[in-house]
């Protein structure tokens, strides 16, 4: 660019010749140059502003575009690193104490239809009915030819069925992937496992949710992807559970009972090794819950072990006796007046038969005297008895970790009077579940500490709160052993395993008050080996009745005890208990003189 001089000689000379001031020319030129510079710099500034504007526009457009893309696209995890992204199943497995699978997941498919896309609805419906005979042909055809745009045909189909549907070849039939819950052992431990069903259902996936048992109780744990594929380990032992179910089922049929339950519990850790409730069901095809209006215990879904709230009869006597010994009110040799009937107001307490005028405390348990325990309860008093049973967990629902257990709230007298205390001492007037009884017997068996029954595998003993002294528990155990060796539970003698236990036979209450004459709940609560108990076994039969030695027998000694004995003989070897010779009682040699 050529620079124009500020003082062009030609014009200066010209101005000088005309007598003008040549400086004016310079000023004029400076002004002109400034004007030009101003214009130029403005243009440059405007250009820059434009560039900047375009830049900001682009930047905002990019941000807005990205936001739009993020808002409309499917969410996806940013993959910065590749390590540690485990592919977990939707729901964790459930395994037994030895890691054997009780519940797992299985890939399957669901079948749905989009009727507008069906080419030949009639033929498709006919062929679908051939594959799935349980479908209703008329209804299916009505759905296919009607106004519906979408319908589920089957929630779960097998690979063979899928192939068969595929072979129909109609484009209106579609498959959606499904993860279903599989219980490979069938009805084994059905009541504990409960079952699972579908929650929110979509075409491409469905939520699997627990509907009962541990599946519901630990639903959030099982569904938590943070657990990875770590399974839920239960305290159950599959082998023991299956054997227990088989033996109890046979026993229930032999004794003509309509229901049965058994609980096998480790007395130190509180682990429930096996819990059976019969009749049972297959959790793979969980039956519909019963409609209201009749006895819930008729349904196979009813878990007698934790929901069956019954008066458990004489099995409670040992608690009254143990407490009396713990309070120092009695020793095993203390003699109690058992002349009957014992009258309290209008109420009279009688024994099954007359046991004489007086019995020692041991004999009261061995012979199962209602009057004897009622007298002990009088000495203990209602208040102390209530506290003791509260300590044993008899006044609340058990903390057993399946949802149904919360429904097993004990039925207690509204006013815990002295008469209530007397009847409760022999197991009437208080209704509990067999699980409560198992926990109570476990406390006696382990030396006087409370254990809460648990379905989860434990690492060691619970060491719960102390309920009674070691000595009282030991004395109670000796009494329970004597019930088997010389009392009402003589059928419980299992060679090699010293069983101690107490029978209980309670009349079933009528729904409208009063008791049935010929319907009982027979219970046998036992522990073995008696000199150092490791397990507690509670067996309860609902309405048993067996014809033996010329008469119809319903007492626990004739019904529940033989079943329990068979169970112990079958289960103890599976639990790894060696048969042992009982340490003999030190008798025979007596020091007479020095």
């Amino acid at each position: 660019m050529t620079r124009r001089p500020l003082r062009p000689l030609a014009r200066i000379l010209d101005a000088r010749a005309k007598g003008e001031n040549p400086d004016a020319i310079e000023k004029e030129n400076i002004r002109q140059r400034h004007d030009e510079m101003q214009v130029k710099s403005r243009q440059r500034a405007e250009g820059r502003l434009l560039v900047l504007g375009v830049f900001f526009l682009c930047a905002y457009a990019a941000v807005a575009g990205r936001m739009g893309v993020m808002a409309t696209s499917e969410p996806r995890e940013p993959v910065a690193s590749t390590a540690g992204s485990a592919i977990a199943m939707q729901r964790a497995d459930i395994v037994d104490r030895q890691g054997r699978i009780l519940a797992t997941n299985f890939e399957t498919h669901s079948l749905y239809a989009q009727p507008p896309q069906l080419i030949d609805p009639e033929a498709t419906a006919a062929r679908l009915v051939e594959i799935f005979p349980d479908l209703d042909p008329e209804r299916l055809l009505a759905d296919f030819t009607g106004a519906r745009k979408f319908l589920w045909i089957k929630k779960k189909i097998s690979p063979e069925q899928k192939q068969a549907v595929h072979d129909i070849g109609d484009p209106g039939l579609m498959f959606g992937p499904r993860e279903m819950r599989l219980y490979p052992n069938g009805s084994v431990a059905a009541h504990v496992l409960g079952g699972a069903g579908f929650g929110k259902e979509g075409v491409s996936a469905a939520e699997v949710i627990g509907v009962a048992g541990v599946e519901k109780q630990f639903d959030s744990y099982l569904r938590d992807p943070g657990n990875g594929s770590k399974p839920l380990t239960l305290s159950l032992d599959l082998t023991v559970q299956a054997a227990a179910e088989r033996v109890l089922d046979g026993g229930m049929k032999l004794m003509n009972a309509k229901g049965a339950t058994s609980i096998l519990m480790d007395v130190h850790s509180g682990e429930v090794i096996s819990v059976v409730s019969l009749p049972d069901f297959d959790p793979n095809e969980r039956p519909q819950p019963p409609t209201s209006g009749f006895d819930p215990s008729v349904s196979p879904l009813f878990n007698r072990a934790v929901q069956g709230v019954y008066e458990l009869g004489s099995t409670f006597k040992i608690f009254a006796v143990a407490q009396a010994m713990d309070l120092g009110l009695a020793t095993p040799e203390t003699v109690i007046d058992t002349r009957g009937p014992l009258r309290w107001g209008k109420f009279a307490i009688r024994d099954f038969r007359n046991y004489g005028n007086a019995l020692s405390v041991t004999k009261i348990i061995v012979k199962s005297s209602n009057i004897g325990t009622a007298r002990l309860a009088q000495q203990i008093g209602a208040e102390r008895q209530r506290d003791f049973l509260d300590d044993l967990g008899m006044l609340e629902a058990t903390p057993f970790e399946i949802v149904e257990a919360q429904g097993g709230k004990p039925l207690l007298p509204k006013n815990w009077s002295e008469l209530s205390a007397m009847t409760i001492s022999y197991g009437h007037g208080i209704s509990t579940t067999p699980m409560h009884l198992a926990a109570g017997y476990a406390a006696i068996a382990n030396g006087g500490r409370y254990v809460s029954p648990t379905i989860l595998k434990q690492d060691g003993p619970q060491m719960g709160r102390r309920i009674m002294t070691e000595e009282s528990a030991k004395a109670a155990r000796l009494m329970l052993r004597k019930v088997v060796t010389e009392g009402t539970a003589s059928f419980a003698r299992v060679p090699g395993y010293q069983v101690g236990g107490k029978t209980g036979t309670a009349d079933k209450p009528r729904p409208r008050g009063g008791y049935y004459e010929d319907k009982v709940i027979a219970t046998f609560a036992s522990m073995f080996p008696a000199h150092d108990p490791k397990y507690v076994l509670v067996v309860t039969l609902d309405e048993p009745s067996v014809f033996a030695y010329g008469e119809e027998r319903r007492t626990a000694g004739w019904t529940a005890v033989p079943v329990a004995a068979e169970m112990i003989g079958r289960l103890a070897p599976l639990l790894g208990l060696r048969p042992q010779v009982e340490p003999a009682e030190v008798t025979g040699i007596t020091l007479t003189s020095n």
Binding site: T82, R100, F106, E107, P184, P495, P573, L574, P579
Partner: protein
């Protein structure tokens, strides 16, 4: 001097851009491979799970019991009972194999020699 600096800077920018470009695609490739592998792992896990479920199903107590009953003739399996426990001292020691004499020593011959020595 200045222009050399510009040229070097520009070349450096080119070089870095090329490096970033390559790294980007290499990373994407690795991620793609990883996704593929993870898909394979997922499929393998599903397969494994099916096998585990099948194993559990084949080992269910009901079936094992049925099999034990079906094959009673050849296996003779019965439920474990307390009387099947034994003590170690109830087990007999394995019988010692009887001694067989392979290299006999001529006892009578020695006698004969000693007799002959005495007679000398």
């Amino acid at each position: 001097m200045k222009s050399l600096l510009y040229v070097i800077t520009a070349l450096a920018v080119f070089g870095l851009a090329f490096w970033a470009y390559r790294e980007n695609y290499a990373t994407q490739q690795v991620l793609k491979e990883t996704r593929g592998l993870q898909r394979q792992i997922g499929a393998a896990q599903i397969r494994l799970n099916v096998l585990r479920a099948e194993w559990a199903y084949l080992n269910r107590p009901d079936r094992l019991l049925e099999l034990a009953e079906l094959n009673f003739a050849s296996l003779g399996l019965l439920p474990l009972r307390p009387d099947q426990f034994g003590r170690v001292d109830e087990v007999t020691y394995p019988l010692q194999p009887e001694l067989t004499i392979t290299e006999g020593v001529e006892v009578s011959g020695l006698n004969a020699r000693s007799q002959s020595e005495q007679s000398q």
